[in-house]
């Protein structure tokens, strides 16, 4: 698996985790405090962007 493939996979999985977290929060299954939620959002967004950036550099 090339680096660009890996970055697409990592950023895709990060988005899936983000969506799952959002789903659980909106359904009330989890109740993450706003500060933590925003920190998690920022972390996953950062991971997705870094991963896609690494892939873009290789391409």
């Amino acid at each position: 698996m090339s680096r660009s493939q890996l970055s697409a996979l990592v950023s895709g999985l990060a988005i899936v985790v983000l969506g799952a977290l959002l789903l659980l929060q909106t359904e009330g299954t989890i109740d993450v405090e706003s500060g933590w939620m925003l920190a998690i959002l920022a972390g996953l967004c950062g991971a997705a962007l870094v991963a896609s950036g690494v892939g873009a550099r290789e391409r």
Partner: protein, 431 residues
């Protein structure tokens, strides 16, 4: 100058060729963005070279002009987009796209400068904004297609577009073995280049506006109880993005999938995390109850927009107590009462301002709390909630509120003489 090297045929040997290098001509002074003397896009350096001035002096001119309503910034951005870059020989780089950051900033400037009604949201036409953006994007893309012979998202040259790549050169053998230099295909006229740059800027404005609209829609859908749908779409986008790892043809769509997923997920996550919930209605609502029984038991509610409740026509006899609960998601609530009415009760917001008869509380989680005073003054018991926005309780006509200015037309009300209305309110409660 960008050139293509192509083989020459025997027929071509006999016909006069157009040599675009014109070595005998005196160099023509052109306004170009400097390649060497640059801090941002080379505009000041190029202008200095064109005017025979020191670059620092020109930069200083832009800074000073920026102090006059931002003219210098706008002029710099416009020049960065429409003035071609020097290729190092005093000629413009051919068919080069303008700096993307300048295009984006000009696009944002267009969105900011456009009048409010353009978006339609002022009048409750929430869907007009995105439609306008789509129309704008389609027109800009069409103009770009006509001028540049390719769509804005297509690569220069190659099989995808009509125009060759900037600076591309190809060498082909065969034939007589001789080569001739011919000018690259494409339009060198300043008019089409400027028009293409403008189309690109409008397209960027439309794209930024569309992203903003999508983010707003995502936040609104989450706040109105459809967060699970947004989450499902985000998950689907994530799966599609991950799948591009295994399909080379789909790799080009990965950045777009990522961008759309983030634009949807971030506002939805922020809304979900802060527990913002409101009714789905959007627009402007005016209520003018004539009697207390006209006021619904559960009060007045609106999702996004302006909620105006005019209580000045009620029979406010001494000892009258009126409860008119209001709940607003995002926007502004204006409650009007006669000057003689004492305003008590509770109001709160997640973020914004609560302005009740001259008393202002603003910021994050502002609250208004006032207990019942003694006496028989008629009173309004507030039970108001604004998630994000402003609550105004005043003795003014709510129709006097000027949305564009964010204040009442009568300057001595809000922002003009808070103390005056606060004194009147205190007098009403002391009766």
């Amino acid at each position: 100058m960008a050139i293509i090297v192509t083989p020459i045929t025997d027929d071509e040997k006999d016909t006069p060729k157009q040599d675009t290098t014109d070595p005998g001509d005196a160099p023509r002074r052109r306004l170009l963005r400097s390649r060497n003397e640059r801090m941002l896009a080379g505009v000041a350096g190029g202008l200095a070279d064109y005017l025979n001035l020191a670059p620092t002096l020109v930069r200083l001119g832009f800074v000073v002009a920026a102090l006059f309503g931002g003219f210098g910034v706008l002029a710099y951005l416009v020049m960065a987009v429409i003035v071609p870059q020097d290729d190092g020989t005093g000629e413009p780089v051919r068919d080069q796209r303008p700096p993307i950051w300048a295009v984006i900033l000009l696009g944002i400037a267009i969105l900011v400068v456009l009048p409010g009604p353009f978006w339609g949201w002022d009048h409750g036409w929430g869907w007009i904004g995105p439609l306008w953006l789509l129309f704008l994007a389609a027109v800009a893309a069409g103009v770009y297609r006509l001028i540049a012979k390719r769509w804005p998202w297509q690569q220069d040259g190659g099989s995808r577009g009509g125009a060759p790549r900037a600076g591309a050169a190809s060498e082909a053998g065969g034939g007589s073995g001789e080569t001739a230099t011919t000018e690259i295909q494409g339009d060198d006229a300043a008019g089409p280049r400027v028009a293409r740059a403008i189309a690109l800027v409008i397209l960027a404005a439309a794209a930024i506006g569309a992203a903003f609209a999508l983010a707003l829609f995502s936040a609104w859908a989450t706040a109105t109880g459809s967060g699970a749908v947004i989450a499902g779409v985000v998950i689907a986008l994530g799966v599609a993005l991950a799948a591009t790892a295994f399909f080379a043809d789909a790799r080009r769509s990965a950045p777009w999938l990522l961008a759309v997923a983030l634009v949807m997920a971030v506002p939805a996550g922020a809304v979900a995390a802060t527990d913002i919930e409101f009714d789905g209605a959007i627009g402007e609502r005016d209520y003018t109850p004539a009697t207390v029984t006209d006021i619904p038991a559960d009060g007045y509610e609106l999702g996004i927009g302006q909620l105006k409740v005019d209580l000045r026509g009620l029979p406010w006899a001494d000892g009258t107590v009126v409860q008119a609960p209001t709940k607003l998601g995002v926007g502004q609530t204006v409650i009007s009462v006669p000057t003689s009415v004492c305003v008590v009760g509770h109001a709160d917001a997640r973020a914004g301002e609560l302005w009740a008869r001259g008393e202002s509380n603003a910021g994050v989680d502002p609250e208004f709390d006032r207990g019942d005073p003694p006496g028989r003054a008629p009173r309004l018991v507030l039970d108001s909630e604004v998630q994000i926005g402003q609550l105004v309780v005043t003795d003014e006509d709510p129709d006097k509120f000027d949305r564009d200015r964010g204040a009442f037309d009568d300057d001595d009300v809000h922002g003009g003489d808070d103390a005056g209305e606060a004194a009147e309110a205190a007098e009403a409660c002391a009766r």
